[in-house]
């Protein structure tokens, strides 16, 4: 108990360092003092502007999207007792992406508060369809069936998305930067609009920890312990939709973060979701911000978008999980 809390504090410290790095490292380097001045005593100099209007929104996007995706992945793994669950693999991000592209390209919606609802709607539809298809037949929603259903739905949604983008050059031009998964697209005001959505999702997710522990014992046992299994499933599903939908709306479809981070947390703190959830919530944005910093450094003077870094780091985790002899249910 005590060491887990201390570890969580350590994670918070790591997160603080990654925030500082994200504010100071890039094509221009800033010392801690520059960053402090830009935040505390904004003078309008070039340095202050870069920090205030470029680095801060970028860091904010990383914090929100990272926390959201880490929690969403942990929730999905807990509810489906599925080690391969991730909003990217199970098609949730693809559903949100299609809805956002449709809203921007076809309906002309332009503000985040406008299209975040579309993103959540798309995430909801994709989640429900993937779960229903994966749950048909013997054994219910096994990891393999869910992953395959997610791949099929993602392929379908992806081709509709590309059909929309191919019809209009300017939509394609925006979309090709967004689809990679990037923290540079959201402005400060967009990020401000996303905060309440993420906050609701975080509260809902953290409340569910105890219930997820009981679900891990199996539906029967959970029921006999007084858990309302269906209510927990629906609440967790809603939290996933809000979190993954909003994260996709601000940063594009970022894959594998929600897969890998909860596994790391589980390895460190054990199978207790009351700890896995907050650890994932703090570790995931740290990983995302560090990945973003790496992306700024490896291809200078250009940048690698953060979604590419997370895929290159996270997909091997997925493959390693698949290679385990038994895809043991969680």
């Amino acid at each position: 108990m005590r060491w887990r809390a201390a570890g969580l504090l350590l994670c918070v410290a790591v997160l603080a360092v990654s925030v500082l790095l994200s504010l100071s490292v890039g094509n221009q380097y800033f010392g801690a003092h520059d960053v402090y001045l830009a935040l505390a005593d904004f003078s309008g100099s070039d340095n202050d502007r870069v920090i205030r209007y470029l680095r801060m929104p970028r860091t904010g996007a990383g914090l929100l999207a990272g926390a959201a995706l880490g929690l969403a992945g942990a929730l999905m793994q807990g509810v489906t007792r599925n080690p391969l669950a991730d909003p990217g693999i199970l098609g949730v991000n693809a559903g949100a992406a299609l809805a956002v592209v449709g809203a921007i390209g076809v309906l002309g919606v332009s503000s985040l508060t406008g299209y975040v609802w579309f993103a959540m709607g798309g995430a909801l539809v994709a989640t429900v369809v993937v779960y229903l298809v994966g749950a048909i037949g013997r054994g219910g929603a096994t990891p393999v069936k869910l992953a395959l259903a997610g791949a099929a739905i993602s392929a379908l949604l992806g081709s509709v998305t590309s059909a929309i983008t191919l019809l209009d050059l300017s939509t394609l031009n925006e979309f090709r930067f967004w689809v990679v998964g990037s923290l540079t697209l959201a402005t400060g005001s967009v990020i401000g609009q996303a905060v309440p959505f993420i906050a609701v999702g975080i509260v809902l997710a953290l409340v569910l920890g105890r219930s997820l522990n009981q679900l891990a014992l199996g539906d029967e046992l959970a029921r006999s312990l007084g858990t309302r299994v269906m209510v927990v499933r629906v609440a967790a599903g809603l939290a996933v939709v809000v979190l993954a939908g909003t994260a996709t709306a601000i940063a594009g479809p970022i894959g594998f973060l929600g897969l890998a981070v909860p596994h790391v947390a589980r390895t460190l703190v054990g199978a207790d979701y009351r700890w896995i959830l907050p650890w994932s919530m703090v570790l995931a944005p740290a990983v995302l911000l560090l990945a973003d910093v790496v992306g700024r450094l490896v291809a200078r003077p250009d940048e690698l978008q953060v979604g590419i870094i997370t895929a290159v780091i996270g997909a091997p985790v997925f493959i390693a999980l698949v290679r385990r002899r038994r895809l043991a249910a969680l």
Partner: protein
């Protein structure tokens, strides 16, 4: 080949030709069928020659060629893995070819795309196979590892698109969706030559494998030859998918759907291979007709139509496999 196989394959080929002929008549200018036939026999006007012989005919021929190649390639993989989901779509072969081609379109700005596509798909297929290998290769592990590798390849491909100027990015994305727009005779010749070489090899390989697998005792003494003909068949399957991707982009789900339909119509395996090719051709040519007409004058890439048809079919296939308990 028994009677019903013969009937079904005749029907498939006839339908393909009929849809192909219809495609030659439709477009920005409608050309009545008799005029099309005149033009094909060399009696057309200059304009008709240009529209039919240089515009629509190569497009239809490329459609038939890549459809056949994807269908046969899918049939080979499904037969070897005994798993309907092991198709070049899902195990990274098409993604590897696509990455190599996009690399050549956007960054290198040149290069021989078929060669690059072949190399890319071979590398991707080898990576997936090695990563999935663990005391042998199970079909589901192959598919899941393929999903992971495809994700990495896909994100690199998407990154390349952000580097290019918007017009190059547009043509690369159109190509990535799987498109027959603007296909010329050089594409038709490419896929035609590929089929002339690889189809007989596929049939010969499948026939030999069937003979080798017939007798257990014989097979045990010939185990090395079984592995060899399996390996050659895999190579042929990868090459077919790669060259089809080089000619028309990774047209989604054709390699997955065509062999499944073929299996339901034709039981015998070597004939089933050819039937999968015929149905693949029909699927691509018909889908391309829909893609050209449905939002005319705007043309959709053919791969979007095949994805619309194929993804629900894949879900039904999975649901059925799950219900009878053979799913993962």
């Amino acid at each position: 080949m028994d009677v019903s196989s013969l009937v079904w394959s005749t029907v498939a080929v006839a339908l393909t030709l009929a849809v192909g002929a219809l495609s030659l008549t439709l477009g920005d200018y409608r050309i009545p069928l008799p005029l099309v036939l005149d033009t094909l026999s060399g009696q057309g006007t200059l304009i008709l020659n240009d529209i039919v012989l240089n515009g629509r005919l190569p497009r239809v021929l490329v459609g038939i060629g890549v459809g056949t190649a994807f269908g046969v390639s899918g049939a080979i993989f499904q037969r070897l893995a005994r798993n309907p989901l092991v198709s070049p779509d899902l195990i990274g072969v098409n993604a590897g070819a696509a990455l190599a081609a996009v690399l050549m379109i956007t960054v290198l700005g040149s290069g021989w795309i078929p060669g690059g596509a072949l190399l890319g798909s071979l590398l991707a297929a080898t990576a997936v196979y090695l990563l999935a290998y663990r005391d042998g290769v199970s079909g589901y592990r192959l598919v899941l590892v393929g999903i992971g590798v495809t994700a990495i390849i896909g994100s690199v491909t998407a990154y390349l698109l952000t580097l290019a100027d918007i017009y190059t990015a547009k043509s690369a994305s159109q190509w990535l969706a799987g498109s027959l727009a603007g296909r010329s005779w050089s594409h038709a010749v490419l896929i035609g030559v590929a089929l002339v070489i690889l189809l007989p090899a596929a049939v010969a390989g499948a026939r030999q494998l069937r003979l080798l697998e017939l007798g257990d005792d014989l097979a045990r003494t010939l185990a090395g030859r079984v592995e060899l003909s399996r390996g050659l068949l895999i190579l042929v399957g990868v090459a077919l998918a790669a060259l089809a991707t080089a000619a028309a982009g990774p047209i989604a789900f054709v390699a997955l759907v065509a062999p499944q339909l073929a299996r339901r119509l034709v039981a015998e395996r070597v004939a089933g291979l050819l039937m999968a090719g015929a149905l693949g051709a029909l699927l691509v040519v018909a889908s391309d007709l829909v893609a050209r007409q449905i939002l005319a004058p705007t043309q959709l890439p053919v791969g979007i139509v095949t994805a619309f048809l194929g993804a629900p079919y894949l879900l039904i296939l999975m649901a059925r496999a799950n219900r009878i308990g053979s799913g993962g």
